[in-house]
Symmetry: C2
Subunit: 462 residues, 2 copies
Amino acid sequence: MTPERPPFVLSFFQDKVGHDLAAWRHPEAATETVLTLEYQARLARTAERGKFDMVFLADALTLLPENNSAFTTTFYFEPLVLLATLAAATKRIGLAATVSTSYGEPYHVARAFGTLDLLSGGRGAWNVVTSMRESEAWNFGREGSLDHATRYERAQEFLDVVRLLWRSWEPDAIVADRASGRFADPDKIHPIRHRGRHFAVEGPLNVPRSPQGEPVIVQAGASSIGKAFAARNAEVIFASTPDLRSARAFYADVKEAAVAEGRRPEAIKILPGMIPIVGRTRAEAEEKHRFLKGLLLPEAAIRYLSQWLETDLSGFDPDRPLPDIFDIERIRGQKGRFANIIDISRREKLTLGALAARVAATRTHCFMVGTAEEIADEMEAWLDGGGCDGFNILTTHLPAGLDEFVDEVVPLLQERGRFRADYEHETLRGHLGLPFDEASLERRGVSEAPRYHARLTETASA
Amino acid sequence: MTPERPPFVLSFFQDKVGHDLAAWRHPEAATETVLTLEYQARLARTAERGKFDMVFLADALTLLPENNSAFTTTFYFEPLVLLATLAAATKRIGLAATVSTSYGEPYHVARAFGTLDLLSGGRGAWNVVTSMRESEAWNFGREGSLDHATRYERAQEFLDVVRLLWRSWEPDAIVADRASGRFADPDKIHPIRHRGRHFAVEGPLNVPRSPQGEPVIVQAGASSIGKAFAARNAEVIFASTPDLRSARAFYADVKEAAVAEGRRPEAIKILPGMIPIVGRTRAEAEEKHRFLKGLLLPEAAIRYLSQWLETDLSGFDPDRPLPDIFDIERIRGQKGRFANIIDISRREKLTLGALAARVAATRTHCFMVGTAEEIADEMEAWLDGGGCDGFNILTTHLPAGLDEFVDEVVPLLQERGRFRADYEHETLRGHLGLPFDEASLERRGVSEAPRYHARLTETASA
Ligand SMILES: Cc1cc2nc3c(=O)[nH]c(=O)nc-3n(C[C@H](O)[C@H](O)[C@H](O)COP(=O)(O)O)c2cc1C
Ligand SMILES: Cc1cc2nc3c(=O)[nH]c(=O)nc-3n(C[C@H](O)[C@H](O)[C@H](O)COP(=O)(O)O)c2cc1C
């Protein structure tokens, strides 16, 4: 692997029985076993057999609306609990889960990821999201979600606190000297004494340092605020770009913003979502694609698009273009991806029905349909054409979609010297080539945490 | 097993390298590997080999004070993440973790335990605690903890909301009918529409029902408010009673209170903490005990007692009795166990130093020191003497303390027909003989949740 031909970073987006809205109807989908640990563990092990850098779990803090839940799989396992079972079921693959900064406590989140990172031997990663649905707010005592800018402001403080907590134990704080009876060195465990706009957290964390320093930060902002947040904080960025043209624009944009934040462009790995459909021939791949399209209920697709566009579209003619009633200012949720959908609709001149089907199959990710060779070629074209540092692999339906990619596409990437033949490191930071940067928080002006002062009794003594 | 000679319920209290304050100094303690998943999984598998009903993880939301952390192991893994790894590492044993109701959100807690319960095939349990330390409050933006009564009031509402969320999916809500394209039946998924004093939660949960109906509720209140809470809500109760006399009083008290709440006494399993020290001879067991005592640093013990009594005791003469400066009204933390400690000190006329050593070794749990036969006899005397329904097994140091109990005491209990030779059920409720009672919440006056109404778009449409 020469520097001119960098290797791929690959993430596997593990989500129920696949990403197609109708995936669960596929005869090969694991619809009957999706709730079992055995099935979930098998997926992660397959991704590990494919030497993926990491497996990624998404999340939502609500059950999506009624009609949608009648038509597809909308439950969400609590991601850290699922991820922890996957930690026990695997040895080397990185482990990323989504946790929102809008409805939790930094101390809880720091502990959960700190524990996962420690127990997995340094394989943890946190996908930082701000939650975009009104109904998520309703499960946490709020009338509605915070506005987009406030969500990201809170996210920045939340993330800063979590990182301070992760660093509250110096790496060599545990002495464990049986002879002297000294377990830890209190001079190496620091409170953080944070008092900010949204949070006040004393610290220190009650979880020691992990072998990789601290979990990897993942993010997927798509709006201008979201991309700025990612450029400032993220180490892995999920993109959602339907074609190489838009991928290139996103890639250049974010790397430039990262440089403006004083970061090296290589310190950020940008991974667009990609849905492979692999056939022995192109015709077979296309036939697979057609079969999947046939499983989709048109009304389910319209309802799904209604959610993305925050607008009830059921009354509109599916055979005509998307009505011209959208104003991005009104969108509270995923502003950036809203813009992508409107863009696809206009550029490709799709009818409402066709747009709904497209979003039901891909969200705004890209499809690669063809033989393994063709897919590997296209992947290389994206990587070498400045569109990505790798991919977040989504699959139409599971487990088949992953099996095929691992058995047919990965070996080609390996033969071509574009992907590891085996893991060369123990930690996720090792896989990604993103060593832990102890000084990075200080550089951003967060002052060094003071020593963890004596606090002998819990209530001051009498 | 005849009804007159009921079988033991056994819980294994899995906590770092053991319960003795100086456990980590023991040459056989796993001090070097305590932070690894391999070690943690080995403990749970040993308990499963011993056919324990469940493994239990405690928690604290703070790092205990400096001097203590210098002298012993005071970190705490986030318990649900650790427990989830144990779910993947075991097949049959029940899985209980502690989560506080004072600093979290019911929706998060319901999801985490719901997911654990589902992925483990119905083996989950939640130890409901209210948190007692001021420094826990400081990690969550509060100046100090809520007062004892308010903590339990909030705990009741928190628990009610979590149970409503667990029940928001009817058991047969998932249809998964590929042909019609109907995944779930929305008429069987209900919002909870809770609006209470402490929480407002819309629901439904986004996690389906678990095979055991819902997780088992564990509790360990010791004050009068705490015991009333347990009598009303708990299915397993941890006690901490130093001798059979106090165990009997606690047992009769709680069962009576449960009956007053309209519950069957058999619907609650009371498990005092017990620390076995097993020797081939009694002399060997006593020698093991003496060796452990020799590992304890007297100053560490005094500091530890200072925390329990919320009073700095370092200035007092360790060779004289506990000074008479305590007033239970002043205690914000564990009122019930505070009272137990004062009681032990008075009844046994211990010096301050001896009391500190006693608490460092046992907290307020009981010791059973002797041969396996003697320990089994004593356990039977407690069970048959109305002191318990089983035990929560604490160990001096790990893994040895657990290995010895499983290899030497468990087989005797099995021979005597007092403990299962193998698991007879798949779920924790099965092991405990505590079937899920769908109607129990309704009986307590929580009205039936309404149907999950249509919510087509996230923001009302334009
Ligand atoms: C691959 C990918 C995965 C995502 N996963 C989640 C998720 O699990 N939970 C969530 O709330 N948002 C998720 N998002 C949404 C992003 O966090 C972000 O909100 C969205 O891309 C819109 O960008 P914006 O916040 O800048 O408007 C994901 C986005 C992408 C592209
Ligand atoms: C075996 C046992 C385990 C306990 N585990 C925890 C725990 O993990 N976290 C916690 O905050 N309290 C724990 N407690 C404390 C109890 O929840 C309770 O607060 C304590 O017994 C004092 O009772 P009170 O709250 O009625 O005053 C435990 C108690 C016992 C006996």
